[in-house]
């Protein structure tokens, strides 16, 4: 018997054994595993995560070691000293791409992670307790929503431009991450609040309360698992959005700051060389950015389908 057949039989057996115990998450997971596009997207993302974690695996060159005599070499193919060529300052492109992935993706993950946390906590509090807590939180959501994310980022980052924060991995993304988080949590809070309002009056929640469960337990054990699924589908798309925003900020020189490298900085440096006959300076970083964003969007789309029971 081949592995695939064995897997199918095992699937069928487990399905027959537990027809009633399939949760929404398990269901969503099954749907996701069957779609080839999701698998490809996940593979691409996994690849870039490995690049973020261990850039040294992919290149032995030092991205900051640049020889101006070797500037603007064209791609030489794998095996040569500079497989992807060098940029206008003679830095190795492959090394820059590998080390530049870290700030770009780390920034996006940190921003979305922290804003999700803030959004979930505030949305849960507002939806569960209502009253003055809700008034306060809803009002702040409204205030922050009035200033679009990008405008706020431009304003604050140009205000804090001269503040020096050091050059560690987290230090280079500290300022953009803080600002983008500050203006990025409202969407999650609104979604969570709305679904908490819906979920908290369900019978089983009332039952849990009657049985004497504490507020905290009801919130995190009973209300939140029900309220979180529409937000989960937003996460990949938001990560993609932040990666794009980083590129814009880099173009203006207020995002991740040189000498640190990010894909955004590489795009903004490479853009002017295209008409000069060196399109690879733009196309390599842009290609990496598009591949990442596309995989995230595909994943988000699949998640939205898998988690929305109405579409089944």
């Amino acid at each position: 018997m081949t592995d695939a057949a064995a897997g199918a039989v095992a699937d069928a057996v487990s399905e027959a054994a537990s027809p009633a115990s399939r949760t929404l998450t398990a269901d969503a997971w099954r749907t996701l595993r069957r779609r080839p596009d999701t698998i490809v997207a996940a593979a691409i993302l996994a690849f870039f995560l490995v690049v973020v974690a261990f850039p040294g695996l992919f290149t032995s060159a030092d991205p900051q070691h640049c020889l101006i005599t070797e500037s603007k070499l064209r791609p030489q193919g794998f095996g040569a000293a500079h497989p992807f060529g060098t940029d206008a300052f003679g830095c190795d492109m492959l090394a820059q791409l590998a080390y530049g992935a870290r700030p770009s993706l780390l920034l996006a993950l940190v921003v979305v992670g922290v804003s999700l946390l803030i959004g979930v906590v505030l949305g849960l509090l507002a939806g569960y307790y209502l009253g003055w807590i809700d008034a306060l939180i809803s009002r702040s959501i409204e205030v922050f929503l009035v200033i679009p994310l990008l405008l706020a980022a431009l304003l604050l980052l140009s205000l804090f431009r001269n503040v020096s924060v050091g050059s560690g991995t987290f230090n280079v993304i500290l300022l953009p991450a803080t600002v983008l988080t500050m203006f990025g949590w409202m969407g999650y809070a609104r979604y969570i609040r709305a679904s908490v309002l819906e979920a908290k009056n369900l019978d089983y929640v009332t039952a849990a309360k009657v049985l004497g469960a504490s507020d905290l337990r009801v919130m995190f054990r009973h209300v939140l698992p029900n309220a979180i699924s529409p937000v989960t589908a937003l996460v990949p798309t938001s990560i993609a959005g932040i990666i794009g925003a980083e590129a814009v900020l880099a173009f203006l020189g207020i995002g991740v700051r040189p000498p640190a490298i990010s894909w955004g900085i590489m795009i903004s440096n490479g853009a002017e060389w295209v008409t000069g006959g060196y399109p690879h300076l733009l196309l390599f970083p842009l290609g990496c950015l598009i591949a990442t964003v596309l995989s995230l969007v595909v994943l988000g789309d699949a998640l939205r389908d898998a988690l929305d029971p109405r579409l089944r």
Partner: protein, 334 residues
């Protein structure tokens, strides 16, 4: 309805006040941490103490609270709000009024928004309707794939590729083919030309509209699918109306309310997109002014423009809410 509008406006005034206060707090904190923005006025030169004091007085930075981190600077806040109420949003580093700059730049942004809105509506209505009409068929899947692809190319990427890769060859080709100064040659110009605003705004506007149209396609599809399964459509079909009539009169018309209001709601996102578009394509609009101000570290211009844009956003949100209440009789506010 009248009371609803009045309440909504009062709420909006409160929100605006809080927004201005939040912006003030952030600016103050930045000045306290960052050092004196008046120094930016002098660039690389080192000013004498009296020159510095004169510039500080001119930009309202002479209050001692700006030297004490953590002080909310309520005195300058009151001054600032009263200046805003008199229509004074400060000046840029060269002493030109922000209101004056915005007034000359706003028409181009409005033109851009016209093109963007038309692109959204045309793409969204056509593709969304087609997808809903033939739900589950190949064309539906194709449109869905298209909208995922559109989502995957942020407006920034589209514009960078267009400006740096396609614009120059395209405009060379158009000049050869149609002659210098002809209309097609204008369309593909890599930069804005104030003598031909519509022609040079067309392509950037379409690209910006394209980038935001995926959400519209999904929205139109979802709201038309809801209409298709509605009872009024079943009735219309049951009484023998031709399918064409059912679609135009009962499906498309009924499902356009959320679409109209979505145009308003995506306004805030479009403002961000407009900043990117105008900045990258050198368009002299509000976003372009902001982009240049950020590049030149002209903080007072950035604060002024962002405040004005925040006010515009609040007004647009009120208009959307009122339009929603007026268009959809099922929604009652009291």
């Amino acid at each position: 309805m009248g009371r609803y509008i009045a309440r909504r406006c009062l709420q909006a005034v409160l929100t605006l006040f809080l927004v201005v206060f939040a912006l003030h707090l952030l600016t103050t904190l930045a000045i306290q941490l960052n050092g004196n923005p008046a120094l930016a006025f002098f660039g690389d030169r080192v000013p004498s103490a009296s020159q510095l004091a004169a510039v500080e007085a001119r930009y309202g930075l002479d209050d001692p609270c700006f030297d004490q981190p953590g002080n909310p600077c309520l005195g300058p806040f009151v001054d600032r709000v009263s200046a805003y109420l008199h229509g004074d949003f400060g000046t840029n580093l060269r002493g030109r009024d922000v209101t004056d700059i915005v007034a000359t730049a706003a028409p181009n942004t409005l033109r851009l928004f016209c093109i963007v809105t038309i692109t959204w509506l045309v793409l969204g209505m056509t593709l969304g309707s087609v997808a809903a009409r033939w739900r589950g068929r190949a064309v539906d899947h194709g449109i869905r794939l298209t909208s995922v692809l559109i989502d995957a190319f942020p407006v920034f990427v589209l514009l960078v590729v267009y400006r740096y890769v396609f614009s120059v060859p395209l405009s060379d080709w158009a000049e050869d083919r149609f002659g210098r100064g002809s209309l097609p040659a204008m369309w593909f110009r890599p930069s804005f030309d104030s003598d031909h605003p519509w022609a040079t705004l067309l392509v950037p506007g379409i690209l910006l509209g394209l980038a935001g149209s995926a959400a519209f396609i999904r929205l139109v599809r979802a709201s038309q699918l809801e209409s298709y399964s509605g009872e009024h459509v079943r009735t219309a079909r049951a009484k023998g109306l031709p399918e064409r009539h059912v679609i135009t009169h009962h499906v498309v018309r009924n499902s356009s309310v959320p679409v109209v209001t979505a145009v308003g709601l995506t306004f805030a996102d479009a403002l961000g997109g407009a900043v990117i578009t105008e900045g990258l394509m050198n368009i002299y609009g509000m976003g372009g002014v902001l982009w240049e101000a950020v590049r030149a570290s002209d903080v007072s211009l950035v604060v002024g423009v962002v405040t004005i844009l925040a006010i515009v956003t609040v007004v647009v949100m009120i208009v959307v809410d009122i339009a929603y209440a007026a268009l959809d009789p099922r929604i009652r506010y009291d």
